[in-house]
Symmetry: C2
Subunit: 151 residues, 2 copies
């Protein structure tokens, strides 16, 4: 039995989602906080901040970032050089590298995060009602999970 969802339904939704993302992102990126670190770099620090102690593999991190693996590897070089991230070999698997935030990295992530979060709220807060934000969160999470489950 085919899905009752039409090609048009999905395409419209994807275009609307994508274009909202572009619109919002363009504004957020302009914030002075992102003179210190690009949004992508900030995003990497946030992801590292979320999966606490022990660190995370480069490949895993890569799934959450829109960057090729080599580019991410080099971004990690730079963030390491700045002292925000540390690489350490995984004792379980000598091929792998475990990444984690340094204290300094955590500090700057939080600093930028504070301003960023305020900016997001200012920018999109007036756009939807509370229940609508909740529904948007629910739908986009459901979508992510569905896509991720289908490898």
């Amino acid at each position: 039995m085919p899905s009752p969802v039409s090609v048009r339904d999905t395409t419209q939704a994807w275009e609307a989602l994508f274009s909202a993302q572009v619109t919002i992102m363009r504004r957020l990126q302009r914030h002075p906080a992102f003179k210190r670190l690009t949004m992508r770099e900030y995003d990497v620090l946030v992801t590292l901040g979320k999966c606490p102690n022990g660190g995370i593999r480069l490949g895993t991190l890569n799934e959450n970032v829109l960057l090729s693996q080599p580019s991410l590897s080099r971004m990690v070089d730079r963030l390491e050089a700045k002292g925000y991230i540390s690489r350490c070999g995984d004792p379980q698997d000598q091929r792998a590298v475990l990444l984690s935030l340094t204290d300094e990295g955590r500090r700057i992530q939080r600093e930028i995060g504070r301003e960023h979060v305020r900016h997001i709220h200012e920018l999109i807060g007036p756009g939807l009602e509370v229940e609508e934000f909740a529904e948007l969160t629910r739908l986009t999470r459901k979508l992510s999970e569905s896509v991720q489950s289908r490898n």
Copy 2:
């Protein structure tokens, strides 16, 4: 009277939206159709295809794309060199340049588009119900409009 929407509501929604976009985009980009043109380039052709005859200014186009103005200018160079876009000076305003698709540009856009749309449907179609897609479309459009209205 402050907005009843909390910082948490907006931040969660933005993170979920952003991360869905990353997840979906990573998959879509892998499609062989995007060996011919990057997704950004394709997106530019789509935008040009939508605002029909007479052309569109580079600056206007730039609002729909996550690229700096100089980078877009150079992407247009490349697409022009490939014969997909034509630049022509605006007679009303000699500073401006009007961009439009060539026939060849329209052709390739449609060719890639056909496959792309099919891929989108396969990828996200099973993730939500029809009404949920409709609601997602509505919410993300509403959000875009709200953000755009606030210059």
